[in-house]
Amino acid sequence: MDYALQQLLNALAFGAEYSLVALGLAVVFSIMGLVNFAHGEIIGVSAYSVFLAAALGLTSPFVAVLLAVGMAALAAVVFERVAFRPVRYAPTTTGLLTAFGVSIVVQNLFMLLISPKPQSVSILNGLNQMWFFGPFAVSSLQVMELIVSGLTILALVLFLNRSTLGLAIRAASRDFATVRLMGIKANRVIATAFAISGALAGIAAVFILARRGSVSPDLGFGLVLKAFVACVIGGFGSLPGAAVGGMLLGFIEVGLLVALPQEYAGFRDALTYAIIVALLVYRPEGLLGQRIELGDKEI
């Protein structure tokens, strides 16, 4: 029972983390058609900011969390302003290549300016403790991951459904030109989408730091690939799809970890992707994606 509960929590926590990062990718993709592979470096900027602040004497974990989220949002907005805005109306491949370029440049900056080796960050370790509920021992980090992700997604849903800017982001995912005809500034809609995307990455960075206790230049890259897969499962550009896809990916991974005998553990990733491929054969548009006719989306 204890084991089952632990694995369930594992799956939920992994899923929540994938969902946060996948939502960040999906918010930007839905309005700009840009797969932001530099999203992992936003997580990197966030984590290195905490590392530097701690090195300079910061001790409050609370301030560290605010810093992580704030710096991630800022990094995302700066990436957009400097790198993506000049190629906004260029073909989508240009945007994709730009994103890879930003990713490589920023990773190399981490290596040159800080170190290619992992650096220890202990300021957030306090988040990762064991909590005991009667006979059950659970990781405080995983519980928090689940609750914080849930609240974050709720806040995002409220924002997208209640505020004018949120409505504009949803509308822009289909028809950006007409959103501009409403007098809504394109730059503002896009900057907001990037800021949201960055803040979500920052929250994920907090959890990664608390779990690993260290930061390295390639910190976010692997996670962004997972988040990309989560978006594909859910239907690219669909926000509910990204959240559901992330959760499902977490469950598939942990499920295989539990179900596969030790000697077959090496096949885990292969099996994960085989399941996803099988799923896409039946639903090529993803679980919650919509088949959008080319003519439905106006650029």
Binding site: T164, A171, S173, A177, T178, V179, R180, L181, K185, D296
Partner: protein, 234 residues
């Protein structure tokens, strides 16, 4: 109110609009007629700034807005209901209307305007919470016009309001356009459907192949034969 001087719009090697000049006075309803591909929509898109003209001047209320961004042109009191309606199909009817008022800072006034349009078009009231994509074509056109009016424009550009709609519904929409004019709104209506467009027009421009072919009162165009010739460029 609006003055366009020698507007040229090019898409690559193709010239869609050739040195088009037109004027719309305060309180006027001006019709811009012409066959498919004449450059009417390109003209409208250049006026709102969604396409950048190769040359020419656009003056709104004495101010040259040729290099002003779309968003700021809307804030200056110009708006357009685009061809094909372009309602936000994934948003509800109510959310579409709210976005139309995005530039306004008077929530009470916005609510009042929404109420007014809902009583004017009861079907929008019935479908208020539903995705706008589920509306019929005519209902979508009403929503699109209402959404444009939510910004309280001084000048409304209507691009093919009759497109793809049944004659009865087209007549209703033009009745409404007539009411808007009676209320003092200035309108530039782009149409292929000359008969409806001429019902309330003060003046008419006819374009074909991007060039102005006629400029004058609608009465002279009433002769269907003359209109036909203009359309085919005879």
């Amino acid at each position: 109110m609006l003055k366009v001087e020698k507007l040229v719009v090019r898409y690559g090697a193709v010239t869609a609009v050739r040195e088009l000049s037109l004027e719309v006075g305060q309180g006027e309803l001006v019709a811009l007629l012409g066959p498919n591909g004449a450059g009417k929509s390109s003209t409208i898109n250049a006026l709102t700034g969604l396409v950048t003209p190769a040359s020419g001047r656009i003056v709104l209320n004495g101010k040259n807005i040729s290099h002003v961004r779309t968003e700021d042109r809307i804030r200056a009191g110009l708006t357009s209901t685009p061809e094909g309606r372009h309602i936000f199909s994934n948003l509800s009817v109510g959310e579409n209307l709210r976005l139309g008022a995005a530039t306004r800072r008077d929530p009470a006034g916005v609510r009042q305007d929404i109420e007014r349009f809902l009583s004017l078009f009861p079907v929008l009231s019935e479908r208020f919470g539903q995705a706008a994509g589920t509306l019929s074509g005519g209902e979508q056109q009403m929503l699109a016009i209402a959404r444009s009016l939510m910004s309280r424009p001084k000048l409304l550009l209507l691009d093919e309001p009759s497109l793809g709609l049944a004659p009865k519904i087209v007549a209703r929409i033009f009745d409404f356009i007539g009411e808007l004019k009676a209320q003092g709104l200035t309108l530039l209506v782009v149409e292929q459907n000359a008969k409806q467009a001429l019902r309330f027009a003060d003046r008419v421009y006819v374009v074909s192949s991007g060039t102005l072919r006629y400029d004058g009162p609608p009465a002279k165009l009433a002769d269907e034969h003359g209109l036909f010739n203009l359309y085919i460029g005879g």
